[in-house]
Symmetry: D2
Subunit: 307 residues, 4 copies
């Protein structure tokens, strides 16, 4: 067997992010994975016929990743987005001026409750953001088409009305990038849609989305997946290929979840090969890390590489 | 400060499960948490006016937990169920005779693909189960009411037709226990519902469920939550109280997820107090463990305690 | 491929621990591993010519596992013990009446400092235990042979003088079970040995232990390893076979550590095959779990199986 | 309560590493921690009277971190080093031309055994490196002083003889930076020292090190700790202050270990306050991450900040 020597990482002063990640790629363990993942993503971005499916799970908007995600969509890095409802909720809140704040995970939650501050680990959010969200959403809902829509179309209609060019949802609408959210009922949008429907008409059918998702997967010459976290977005993006004659061509996941207890979030990507979700010839890489730690570096490296 | 002495666990021969867990409760770390969680659940079960919300995430049916979950519903331990779509899919497959098998996580996924075997960590499932599922589901869909239904009602109609008294979904229907599944579109049921709707009528509105979920939370004198894993079920059960004047009275979660990267699955339960999801007077306990390791022991202990 | 069906776990009322673990073994993921690990240990215990190496890492004595560990040694389940220094320190403290207490991990450490209480996650210990330990140890040291000793012999001399038949160290001395502690300098014993040596004679050479460790590994017809946690005990037990023509015959580890970042604690056991530490024909099993959650159940099951 | 707004991270093209980490510091979760940790380290390096204790656990030399660690010592970033034996062993191997290679964690360990290749996750090492190590070490041992030495002094004598200016141990000797290794007996050095002592004289007493360690902690005006991984190095560095009237002034740890099961490796740093190991006024930060992913970025940022 001939193996490549481990190159001990050399951190020269002012080394650019991309070059530092290349150094790490020549080493081992998580650092090597980070380098491999960046290369897989680079290759996907270079392929003009590739369709990139971006999965967004975890509290990434409260985490301060909103601009990064918005830019990925705006710059054409993501051709299809699958997200949790929460990230859309928090994106819209920011659009209406409700900022998340740096708090502490050591806070007294009883006191926070008295102050009407919601906690997400070390992030604080005034609960009034939810009250305002209801008003804003109801107003937008009233302008929407009355026809039966899938969630994708519903989110497109919603995105068009968000008055903030830095919004993820608005940017996706502007760029005509489909945003799927199969679990939208499990979010404040789902709640406020329901409260709206008590007296008004709104007709959203989550099953309808499968149409477009099938078209997207069947129609793609090559497709890649980039999963931030895991959850429903990972499952939905991978499952789309289960019922298709094609498979995804490459895959990158960043997650802290483990495989041993059998949940999909932490499952090895190669498992997807057995299901026909991922091509047996695919390149794939899981980086075991907090998205908020590694995504900024990956994005920095890819920008240096010309994207 | 007066603290109780750590009692060093004494494992006498033939010690019953419940007594062993009590021993662990007198000690520290995870073992102590297991004891505390069991006590919180016991207290919830003793309270006849308590409404127990059971959240089921992870691949628990493939994992061999189907009988346990079915019995919890049949024996009145769960009054409301919130689950991922996958657990319903695999429950129905088993109902139609498609067994999961003990494989190995070291398998070659390319070979499994050739043999049309799907892998879930160390569990194998012939892919034909999905083809058969489509036929069975389409047949049942054709007997369903044509009216607009929430997912809860849709799953009730589905559950009634499952020809296996050991099915989770069938048992819930028989016992009239509501089963919610906000992310159902992200499952083979969602896919097959869509393929059915291409030529037939079926009208499921995920937002409608909020009605009943609100009634259940507002109507409960006391409510408890028992979360297996995390994911959408955890979020949906907790969120139900966010828009209610009440809070859940007690909470137990078993998960391997971590809190530091901010995802809800691994979030500390006490965070829910700040949101008004969990009462500031609540008892709550997170057991950091694989559900497949600790749930059987918890159930065994609770049965010994008379439930 | 013929695979065994997943048997859905059936938790009958009053099911004994061993039978419940057997049920779990017929299922998947962590529960299955727990069953397999118990079987491997059972097989090792049945083999009268097998030498069992027990590795003890983590704060298992503060955790309330002292009686279990002591009984494992007393009942002949462990033929060689490798431990961290801390577990010996806390074992001796308990022998002298210094109890650990159930505190809370949410405590204010600044206040604890004022009260001279040391915290180990949710365990509290009055700092005075360390002061008393110094007196007791110095007294024992003064009765020890002046010759050059390995740590194993030093701990044997120490164990003989511990006035508590429930002490792990005392029991090992009584039963003539060797206790190794390669990292003893990193413990309060190391500190107090040093303070003693400032004015007195004591001659401990950690390298000397290799002699006996080699004899134990070379001399064993079969040998098994049971690792609680990871750390130095895991490394020392595995390494003992690296420089021997033999290999360990079977291996069980319980740990929460992960493999992906390359540390030995979380490394897959099969890695040891490449090194010649573990036989290529060995049975091995890692249970990803908190020792304080699963060890009591394993011990309970093995006792039911006649050990 | 007034909280600082989360600043959504803006990754401009060619953003320097330090600036990107500053962006992350204005956000949340792990990214924020990375920023805080870098600031704490920066402050320690700025303080000329500060003594920096560097703890090195995990397989960091096989991981390709040798140059980084060597440079940290050479550039005066570390004033005291505490390491596992393994990192010294692999450092010396590299000094003698035995390279580690990039392999794969999916390898067949039985085949690797046949090829005499040792595996450390995805790193391969020919086993002959251990045979050569014995020869080289025995030769160096024969030139050493015959007097009783602590491990620190023993490693200094060893370091002086390593014929590679890029060696961690050699660099520490050249710069007169003390290297402690309380668990040295648990390493190939321990084994080869023992085999040497079978026919030759060598006198190493691990307890002697406490002398210097005490001087270093008592003598430091301010002291900081930087823990890579956890294990014995973390314990030894923290414990040094337990028996001192002083406390460490600041602390940074990078680890993937968890706190809930009570092991020291994953323990929250603030626990050290209760023990008097860490000052109640200290700044401290744990970054939950793989060292091989984040250390290169931290080092890059600190270099940009002028160190």
């Amino acid at each position: 067997m001939h193996h490549k020597k481990i190159n001990h990482i050399n951190v020269k002063k002012n080394i650019p992010v991309s070059k530092l990640i290349k150094e790490m790629q020549g080493a081992a363990f998580g650092g090597r994975r980070l380098g491999e993942a960046t290369d897989i993503l680079e290759e996907s971005l270079r392929d003009k016929e590739n369709v990139m499916f971006l999965g967004i799970a975890g509290a990434l908007v409260p985490a301060g990743m909103r601009q990064i995600l918005r830019d990925m969509i705006n710059d054409g890095w993501a051709n299809v987005v699958v997200t949790t409802g929460a990230n859309i909720v928090h994106d819209i809140m920011e659009a209406y001026g409700h900022s998340h704040s740096r708090g502490t995970e050591r806070a007294d939650d009883v006191k926070l409750r008295e102050q009407k501050i919601d906690r997400i680990y070390d992030v604080f959010l005034p609960n009034e953001a939810y009250e305002d969200l209801e008003k804003k959403l109801h107003k937008i809902f009233s302008t929407m088409p009355k026809k039966r829509m899938g969630v994708r179309e519903f989110l497109f209609e919603l995105g068009k009305k968000i008055p903030d060019k830095n919004s993820i949802l608005r940017t996706a609408a502007d760029k005509n990038i489909p945003v799927f959210c199969p679990g939208i009922a499990d979010s404040a949008i789902g709640f406020h849609a329901w409260s709206y429907m008590l007296e008004n008409e709104l007709n959203v059918d989550t099953f309808l989305d499968m149409n477009e998702m099938m078209d997207l997967t069947w129609g793609a010459k090559n497709s890649s997946i980039f999963i931030l976290g895991g959850g429903v977005p990972k499952d939905f993006i991978m499952q789309a290929m289960q019922f298709s004659p094609k498979q995804h061509s490459s895959a990158v996941q960043i997650t802290m979840d483990r495989p041993e207890h059998g949940g999909l979030s932490g499952a090895e990507l190669r498992e997807g090969i057995s299901w026909g979700k991922l091509s047996k010839n695919s390149k794939y890489c899981t980086v075991v890390a907090d998205v908020t730690i590694v995504l900024p570096f990956i994005v920095g490296a890819l920008k240096e590489r010309g994207f």
